[in-house]
Symmetry: C2
């Protein structure tokens, strides 16, 4: 008999039929004449209770199985007597696929998130991480559906690059040279001519510049791929390797960009509500329990999401934002100061206190932002935007790009950047240039927001951070 997933069983509730389920034991307990086991096979958040009694062949061995063991259970589906379960299985036969041992790390007693990070190969078997990674899945599906339905083409921008696109310099070197025996030129420099690519190569920090090339031919594109930062930041907000979504659209100005960003944010949240409500419930329960344990106030992040998904996204300029912050009477660690990038405390004040909802801040001082952003008429600000949401602050950053060749050259010169590696990027402005815009969403930051998890390492399958590249 072929196996059915627990997801399908719980959806279809085929009461009276014989079924076969393969899954891992989440819990097991023995009564006098029969036993229960609770099974999960990863297909959904839900579990199936399996009842088996003394008469079952092999009862002795099966009833002694430990949590985490893997079994195939055959039996009849019946309506459940217990609370919260619609159907259960009365097993006629249970085969043992894989036992486990007393030292299995995921025991019933509560385990800390820190400990589970060291067990990243096993944590998808837990209730909490099952919920997180299913939500991650749905947010990825939502992304492809949102952009695909709107006629965007998916672009795999390159990971290996010879360009420092953000000019920030925090890049990983990639080489096939023998690190123990680096060959140098006569003048004592590293001789990259013998390296794999014949020049210095790094891991990308963004796919934007290449997305611009494609937008200027295919109209509307988006990337969804890994990006890398070699910065030495050991915080709950930073990963060395993370996934980014970067749409880029020809003939779109900052207005259109802001609208697209708001629609995408709302779509992501709505999609999770629609496709992963049980997972959201699991997370909500987890956070409530944690708050109680730690005697902290419970902030219902699902209620915040619910509100954001139906919100109008307010719009203000950076200059107005500084004005609001200065006049707020609020005590900030960093005093709001025109010309300086907004801090998270400022962003959260704006969206949580002042607007009590999402807000898009535009037209930042040019010195806060990257070289490729379009200069405004005032000569001081650029057509940048940041989307701020209650709960975290900035979730999306974007801009209209400078499409004027001369102005772009001037900006690159002002910033002392090298033009040569960007010859192809500059040519986009030389041959049939057009207004265009785009933005970037850090996927893990968005998942952290939607799941309410505090540490970004808990929303990516295998986190890479300083001194940590395990698994």
């Amino acid at each position: 008999m072929s196996r059915v997933t627990i997801k399908k069983l719980l959806q279809e509730k085929p009461v009276g039929s014989e079924q076969t389920v393969s899954a891992w034991i989440r819990s097991i307990r023995n009564s006098k004449n029969f036993s229960f086991m609770v099974l999960n096979d990863g297909s959904c958040q839900g579990t199936l209770q399996v009842v088996f009694d003394l008469d079952m062949p092999g009862y002795e061995e099966v009833s002694k199985l430990l949590i985490g063991s893997c079994v195939t259970a055959h039996g009849k589906i019946v309506e459940s007597q217990g609370q919260g379960q619609s159907v259960e299985m009365q097993a006629s036969k249970i085969e043992i696929l894989g036992k486990t041992t007393e030292d299995y790390p995921l025991q019933k007693k509560a385990t800390s998130l820190e400990f589970l990070r060291e067990q990243a190969h096993l944590r998808p078997r837990t209730n909490l991480f099952g919920a997180i990674f299913r939500i991650r899945h749905h947010m990825a599906m939502a992304t492809h559906k949102f952009f695909g339905d709107r006629g965007f083409y998916y672009l795999n921008s390159p990971i290996l690059t010879a360009v420092d696109a953000e000019g920030a310099g925090e890049m990983f070197n990639v080489t096939t040279m023998d690190l123990g025996n680096i060959i140098k030129t006569k003048s004592g420099e590293v001789d990259f001519s013998n390296d794999y690519f014949g020049k210095q190569a790094s891991l990308c920090v963004t796919g934007q510049l290449e997305a611009e090339c494609f937008a200027m031919g295919m109209g509307a594109v988006y990337t969804f791929g890994p990006t890398f930062r070699a910065e030495n930041s050991n915080t709950p907000r930073h990963l060395s390797e993370f996934w980014m979504i970067e749409p880029e659209v020809a003939f779109m100005d900052l207005e259109g960009n802001a609208e697209l960003a708001a629609d995408y944010t709302k779509y992501l949240i709505s999609y999770v509500f629609e496709h992963a409500s049980e997972e959201l419930e699991t997370l909500s329960g987890y956070h409530k329990f944690q708050a109680k344990q730690n005697k902290e106030q419970f902030e219902d992040h699902v209620a915040i999401l619910e509100k954001v998904k139906d919100s109008k996204f307010e719009r203000i300029t950076y200059t107005d934002a500084i004005d609001i912050l200065s006049k707020s009477g609020q005590k900030f660690e960093f005093k709001p100061d025109w010309g300086v990038e907004l801090q998270t405390e400022h962003e959260r004040f704006l969206s949580e206190e002042h607007f009590n909802g999402p807000v898009i801040v535009t037209d930042y001082p040019k010195d806060c932002k990257a070289f490729y952003m379009k200069l405004n008429q005032d000569g001081k600000t650029v057509r940048a935007m940041d989307v701020l949401v209650p709960g975290v602050g900035e979730i999306i950053g974007g801009s209209q790009r400078e499409e004027n060749y001369d102005k772009l050259i001037q900006r690159i010169d002002e910033m002392g950047m090298e033009k040569d590696p960007l010859w192809w990027y500059l040519e986009l402005r030389k041959f049939g240039t057009a207004p265009h815009s785009g933005f970037g969403l850090g996927f893990e930051r968005a998942i952290r927001y939607v799941t309410g998890m505090k540490n970004i390492r808990d929303v990516i399958p295998f986190a890479r951070t300083p001194k940590n590249c395990d698994f």
Copy 2:
């Protein structure tokens, strides 16, 4: 008036209405009293013909625009008089967004694929590459839909890794050490303790091992991400950076794996037929033209695809395949020899000559394959499978994994591999092990197959190969 995409115009044919289109000029020609331009905005394969006459304001300047210039055209949609076009625009106004110059590389005269590789930032503006990259998009969408609809969860396996998962050693080093000043230990070894991750790190060659961790908790997962090979292969089949799709499923044996691989292959092809028929037509026309130019026989790759998408995938063992090849009377460069991996010429003979359709070869000698494949009862072969299709040979490789702890340890020892870095992988067999299987599809090889392009560098946005990391 807001802009409409050419895709929408050609679909809806709003004859009589006023519309605005922004696009690049593919061709332009002037008659006595009026001019034509053919526009493409990347939204689809199709183009829009725009007619404008002497009376139009700015006629002089617009009529002198060069190919590749970018414009916004306003005007009335009318039924087309010309052949092959359903509607065209009678422009009342044409704004110039971006001119181009005489040295614009994409002129009307035929340009070689080699030359276009050096213009990778501009080639998405061509008819041919528009078709290729739209097909690439649809194959990505098909992948997410195929696995998503079947209850698989999308997994972002890590790119940075400290494990050589295939044991092949052809990996890129990733470091933040100053390459000009590598610090060594007292014994003269590279001192990785000071490197970013505190140990030697590389770019992944596969996401399989991590996918196995997730399959053993979430049931069915698939990766779709970049992978890397630092081999020095300058061929039309090799890329240093390429995308892979790797499904991994708990409780699935090799039978199920073969069925899944056949279904996925057919789905990919069917999806392209359904969503990108014009693009396939463009490619077919291109290949026909090339064959004629080069006085070669035209092989209609679309006809091959059409056949494969409705085929039963035959099944034979490797041992039978060697037998068929040995008795075929065919002259091969490499003599078929039990114990040695099949060559492309063998694979193509099997699928093109012998079976005249796709075939899945299973149960290869263990020494041809990786350490993680499940050993058969015979002790000589493993539960591996390769999917061979007419036109290219192998397109998918996969296996049932060795789920038995002791057998896996034995195999790792036999192959002289290090066990320590794989502690977490081994633990999957210690805690609740289960039969499981999966496979890998090289995305670019699949696109090369579906587009009929000969060089794999022409189906990825920006190719990375030895000595080539431009853009």
